[in-house]
């Protein structure tokens, strides 16, 4: 394992200190328990939008803390959900009197820890709502699984709901909006290589040089099927076809297309993939009105990518375009 770290046990805290040093104007970092909080929190009268999850997906979630997006993020250890006291600390630090909305990726660990936190926060008198994000079409949503995972769609939910809270929408409206975005977003990922969790020291799985894993999660967990490596055209089809079939997205739809790197895939390859996806969508009569391209929800140094497609309407476009000022996303300011 070759990583720029001092000690596997202090990776998250060390990174948080660096993050605080890098963005003093945007955020504050608390370390016991670990929470990244918007610099001007608590914002009076505003719904607090809070998310969190295991570390190793940077810039998710801490990189999205700031004006127009998240009020706080709770970073767990690498690939492990945060604990309820982190979430409670986030609620306390951001409580502007309008309640808190917890945006939770649908993984058992995250769900159970946020659920426990919501119960504790409610007992302390803050109104807390939770919306689960489950956009990964690689996992069958059935009684026989823990349900779909939250992946790329998370970034879009956080941006859009963050904008709504910033413009003054109340807790009911923010919650309903979050559910609406979740209902209209679908994702799928692929891994070309595995990643190495610092405290494990070895790759999470092995892929031969001529193999790729379709339907990969963002924690190095194996995906849906292992297939021979293909050129970019084939890879993009493997991701896009199941996404479009699932919702389904149909001719005439207006969409946001998010082409995401898992961390190790460079932008030059990502743009190749993005161009192909735009062409395939155009062929189907689906209009790409907004796009996001880059490493926004990663899996450490994994090579690979994901595609996320969100169905848009005028309100969602307006909220997407609204000003945002965070470490990882910034426009309109």
């Amino acid at each position: 394992m070759k990583k720029i770290i001092n000690d596997p046990a202090t990776v998250v805290v060390d990174a948080l200190h660096g993050m605080a040093a890098a963005h003093p104007d945007l955020l504050r970092v608390q370390t016991d328990p670990a929470v990244v909080v918007r610099a001007d929190a608590a914002v009076h009268g505003k719904v607090a939008v809070i998310s969190g999850g295991g570390s190793g997906h940077e810039p998710l979630h801490g990189g999205f803390v700031g004006m127009g997006m998240l009020d706080a993020a709770c970073p767990g250890p690498v690939f492990t959900s945060p604990t309820p006291d982190q979430v409670q600390a986030a609620v306390t630090a951001t409580d502007g009197g309008a309640g808190a909305l917890l945006l939770v990726k649908n993984y058992t660990g995250d769900v159970l820890n946020f659920e426990t936190a919501a119960e504790l926060a409610a007992a302390e008198g803050t109104e807390v709502r939770t919306v689960l994000i489950d956009d990964d079409v690689a996992v069958k949503d059935s009684l026989y699984t823990a349900g779909r995972r939250g992946v790329g769609g998370t970034v879009l939910v956080e941006k859009i709901v963050g904008a709504a809270a910033q413009r003054g929408d109340d807790l009911d409206a923010c919650e309903a909006l979050a559910r609406r975005v979740v209902a209209g977003v679908r994702s799928m990922g692929v891994a070309l290589t595995a990643c190495t969790v610092p405290h494990v020291g070895e790759p999470s799985f092995t892929l031969a040089d001529d193999e790729m894993e379709i339907g990969i999660g963002i924690h190095g967990e194996p995906g849906r099927q292992r297939v021979p490596m293909e050129p970019a055209d084939g890879i993009v089809r493997h991701l896009l076809d199941p996404i479009l079939e699932d919702l389904p997205f149909v001719e005439g739809d207006r969409v946001l297309l998010f082409t995401n790197s898992m961390g190790g895939t460079p932008l030059v390859e990502l743009y190749i993939a993005h161009g192909i996806a735009e062409r395939l969508l155009a062929e189907r009569g689906i209009t790409v009105e907004r796009r996001l391209v880059g490493p926004y929800i990663t899996s450490l140094e994994m090579q690979g990518m994901s595609l996320t497609v969100l169905r848009l309407d005028d309100e969602l476009v307006e909220l997407w375009d609204a000003p945002v000022h965070t470490a990882a996303l910034r426009w309109g300011v």
Binding site: P77, F79, T80, D85, T108, E115
Partner: protein
């Protein structure tokens, strides 16, 4: 003889030793069908528990000791196991009430409450390939042993034996809960890490209870 608060604290300390000794094994089990953190998560939590036991006032009752363990694990383990084991211990703490000593029936009742807590939180059923597959037979065995007049140590050791078998029974199963369920059929032929840690914890309690003259 029953189990005093000192006995409960000793059992928690021995659990911490066992979890630390088996950290790599649990990580490896979780690497194959999960995300390689189960052993690390539990080690972090139990290490935090030991430092709390070292640094703070000793708990006054078995219930207080279990509650300290519950809140510490909830706030330090994370993952699925943190809230699940935390809830289990919290329910066990409530079940033993303000008793100064736990007898065999009290231990069996606490294990039953723990199982109910895990099921209430995680909604897993037997056969879903989770810690519930180890804990369910363990509770039944503990209750049977308590009903037939066994000591606390015997109750715990019956529970640990049944948990070992329950854990082994997860190998052929296809996971329907937790991270391993994403693998579908590919989760079969592997031991569930949470069922293994449950069996290890119960074994450590049994050995700790058998070690003294309880």
């Amino acid at each position: 003889m029953g189990c005093s608060v000192e006995g409960v604290v000793a059992a928690l300390r021995s659990a911490a030793e066992v979890v630390t000794a088996h950290r790599d094994e649990l990580v490896e089990l979780d690497r194959v069908i999960g995300d390689a953190d189960h052993g690390e998560n539990l080690k972090r939590g139990f290490t935090a528990l030991v430092s709390k036991l070292d640094l703070s006032e000793p708990p006054a009752t078995p219930s207080a000791a279990l509650k300290l363990a519950a809140t510490t694990l909830i706030s330090t383990v994370g993952g699925a196991a943190g809230p699940l084991y935390g809830t289990a211990l919290l329910r066990a703490a409530t079940s033993v009430g303000d008793a100064a000593e736990l007898d065999a029936a009290g231990v069996a009742a606490a294990l039953r409450a723990a199982l109910d807590g895990v099921v209430a939180r995680g909604k897993a059923e037997p056969g879903d390939k989770t810690m519930v597959d180890a804990l369910t037979p363990a509770v039944a065995a503990a209750e049977a042993a308590a009903a037939s007049g066994s000591t606390v140590a015997e109750v715990l050791s019956a529970a640990a034996d049944a948990a070992d078998e329950g854990a082994a029974s997860t190998v052929p199963l296809v996971a329907r809960k937790g991270r391993a369920s994403y693998l579908g059929e590919r989760s079969a032929n592997h031991l569930d890490p949470g069922s293994r840690s449950t069996a290890l914890l119960l074994r450590s309690f049994a050995e700790s209870a058998g070690g003294g003259d309880r």
